[in-house]
Subunit: 336 residues, 2 copies
C-alpha cells in the first residue's frame, strides 16, 4: 500500500481565456487515498492529453459537465492497480480510466478497463486502443458510413484520431487523404501510414490541393479542426457526402465567437449531411471496435505512434503542444 505517500495533482484554478496558462491550474499535494468498497487505487503511469480538455475547462452547456474550480483536472489515464476492494480487478492489474492529472487515483472499479501490457504498450491504450481509436472507428464507419471506393479526407490527420481514421479508411478499401501541418507530418502519413496523399495546410492552398487529390469529390470528410479547413473541405464535397464533426481544435481557444462554416450551403447543393457525435455513446460497442483494431495492430495493417512527454510537472506546457500542433500521433505524459 502506498497510503503514506504523497499524491501530486493538478487542480483547476481558473477558467482560461484563450490558450490555457500555467496559472490556470494549481499543483497541489495530498496523501494518497484509500479505496472504499468497490473501488481501486491506481498508480497513474500515463496521462492522456486531449483537445477536449480545453472544453472541459470552460463553463457552458456541453456533452459533459465542466471541471469545477478546485477539482482535479479531468484526464484519461492508464496505470497499475496498487490496491483493490472490488471483485474482478486485482492488485498488479493494469487499467485505463478517467484518472485525472495526478499521480494516484481512487476510482470505482466499474469505471476502469483492464488492459494487457503484453498485447500493446500502455500509451497505445490511451491512443489507438483508447478513446481516440474508438472515436476514429465509430466516427468513420458509423457516422461517416465509409465504404469501399469512397474518398475519405481527414484533418488533424497526424493526430491521435486522424492517424487512425486514415488507416481504417485504407483497410476498408477507401482512398485516404490527410490534412496536416508541416512536411514531417505529411511524410509520416504517406510514407509510414500509407495514406494516398497528404495536404500541408501550412504551405498549400487546401481547397486547390483537395481538388487535385479528390477529382471525384470527397465522400467522407472527418473534421477534427473546424475553421478555414472545414470551409475548404465543404467546397469539395461529392454528392451524398458525409461530414463528420469530431472536433474543432482551431476554435477551442478562440476568444471571439468563431465564424462557422460559411460554405455550409454546399450541403444542399451536394445533398450532403454534417453530423456530430460523442464517442461515449458507443460505450457498449467498444469491445467490438477493440477486437477489430487489435487484430489490425497485430497483423501490422494498423500502425500507431505515441508522442510521449515526461513528468507531471510538465503537464501545462505539454498540453499546449496540442494546440500548437507539435505532436505527431497520440500525445501522452509519462508520470511514473
Amino acid at each position: 500500500m502506498a497510503t503514506a505517500a504523497v499524491n501530486r495533482q493538478y487542480r483547476l484554478a481558473a477558467r482560461p481565456v484563450g490558450l490555457p496558462e500555467e496559472g490556470d491550474w494549481d499543483l497541489t499535494e495530498e496523501p494518497v487515498g484509500e479505496p472504499g468498497d468497490g473501488e481501486v487505487l491506481v498508480q497513474v503511469q500515463y496521462v492522456s492529453l486531449d483537445p477536449a480538455m480545453r472544453g472541459w475547462m470552460s463553463e457552458g452547456r456541453s456533452y459533459i459537465a465542466p471541471v469545477a474550480i478546485g477539482e482535479v483536472m479531468r484526464a484519461g489515464g492508464v496505470g497499475r492497480v496498487l490496491a483493490s476492494r472490488a471483485g474482478g480487478v486485482a492488485e498488479g492489474d493494469h487499467v485505463s480510466g478517467i484518472f485525472g492529472v495526478q499521480e494516484y487515483a481512487v476510482a470505482p472499479a466499474d469505471g476502469v478497463f483492464k488492459v494487457d501490457p503484453q498485447l500493446a504498450s500502455l500509451p497505445t491504450y490511451l491512443g489507438t486502443l483508447g478513446m481516440p481509436g474508438m472515436t476514429a472507428y465509430f466516427g468513420l464507419l458509423d457516422i461517416g458510413a465509409a465504404h469501399a471506393g469512397d474518398t475519405v479526407v481527414v484533418s488533424g490527420a497526424a493526430g491521435a484520431v486522424g492517424q487512425v481514421v486514415g488507416q481504417i479508411a485504407r483497410i476498408k478499401g477507401c482512398r485516404a487523404v490527410g490534412i496536416a501541418g508541416g512536411a514531417a507530418k505529411c511524410a509520416y502519413l504517406v510514407d509510414e501510414l500509407g495514406f494516398d496523399a497528404a495536404v500541408d495546410y501550412k504551405s498549400e492552398d487546401v481547397r486547390r490541393a483537395l481538388r487535385g487529390h479528390c477529382p471525384d469529390g470527397i465522400d467522407v470528410y472527418f473534421d477534427n479542426v473546424g475553421g478555414e479547413i472545414l470551409d475548404a473541405a465543404l467546397t469539395g464535397l461529392a454528392r451524398g457526402a458525409r461530414v463528420v464533426i469530431c472536433g474543432a481544435i482551431s476554435q477551442y481557444n478562440a476568444t471571439q465567437a468563431p465564424s462557422g462554416p460559411a460554405n455550409y450551403m454546399s450541403l444542399l447543393v451536394n445533398r450532403a449531411r454534417m453530423e456530430g457525435f460523442v464517442v461515449f455513446d458507443y460505450a457498449t460497442r467498444y469491445g467490438e471496435a477493440a477486437r477489430e483494431m487489435g487484430g489490425w495492430l497485430a497483423s501490422g495493417q494498423l500502425k500507431t505512434r505515441e508522442d510521449v512527454a515526461e513528468g507531471l510537472e510538465n503537464f501545462p506546457e505539454t498540453l499546449l503542444r496540442l494546440f500548437r500542433g507539435e505532436n505527431i500521433g497520440k500525445l501522452v505524459l509519462k508520470i511514473a
Copy 2:
C-alpha cells in the same frame, strides 16, 4: 392556334450584384412558337416566384446550371395547353412545368404534369401541390425524419414551404413552432394554420423565444433562411436533432461571403445532424406526396394560401417582395 400572337418574355440581361434590379432582365418579344414532335404549346397563366430564382441568376456550381445571359428567365408555371403534338396531353389540358417567365412556352410533353383545376386552384399547383409542397413533405418527413411527439421548428414559416411544413408536422402529431417576420404572419400561423406557437423575429429575441416554446429542445429544425436565425436555432437543439437545410433566403443577395452558422458545434454536443437536399431528387415519389397532401387538402386538415400578383410586366418588382419578406403564402404572378 396562337402562332400569330406575340410572346412577351423576361430574358436575363445581367448577373445581379446583391438584390436583382429591373435592369438585370430585358423584356423582349418574339412570335409564339410552334410545338415540334413530342412537344406542347402552353399559354402560361401563373408564374411561380421562388427564392431559388436568385441562385439561378448567378454563376457558379450548384445543383442546376445557371440561367445563361440572354436566356428566358427560368421559372415554374402553370397554364393551358393550346396545341399538342404528344400523346397523353391534349389541347385544353392544364399543365405545370418549368415554363419560364413568359406568356407562352413550348415544352417537351414529358416535362409537364397534368393538373386538375376542379380539385384545386391553379396557383395551388405551384404551391402546396407543387414544388414548395413537395419540398416541405420530403424535407420534413424524409430528411428531417419527423415523427409524433417531436418538436418541429420552421423558419420562413409563412412562406410557401414553411406554411406546409408546420401543418404537416401537426398532422403527424408533432408540436409546430414557426418563425416569421411580423405580427400578421405570426397570427396567420397560429390562428389560421394551427401552429402551436410563432416567433416574430422582427420583434423578439429568437433564441430566448425558442427556449420558451421548446422546453425540451428542438427535434427538427427546418431552415429556409440561414443567417442569425439558423444560429439561434442551433443553440436550442435537442439530443439527436435533425437540421434540414432547405434554403437560406437571408443570404441569397449577400455581396460578401456569409458568415456561416457559428454554433455548428451544437451538432457535436447534441449528436445532431444537418442535411441538405434538393427536391428534384424525389421526382419519382411526387405522386405519393401529392396523393397524401391532396387528401389533407380535401379534408381541410391542410390549408393553403397564395399571394397572387398580376401582370407579366410586374415580374421584377414582384420577385423583390420575396426578399423583402412581404408575401404570406406562396407568391405567384398571374399573367393570363
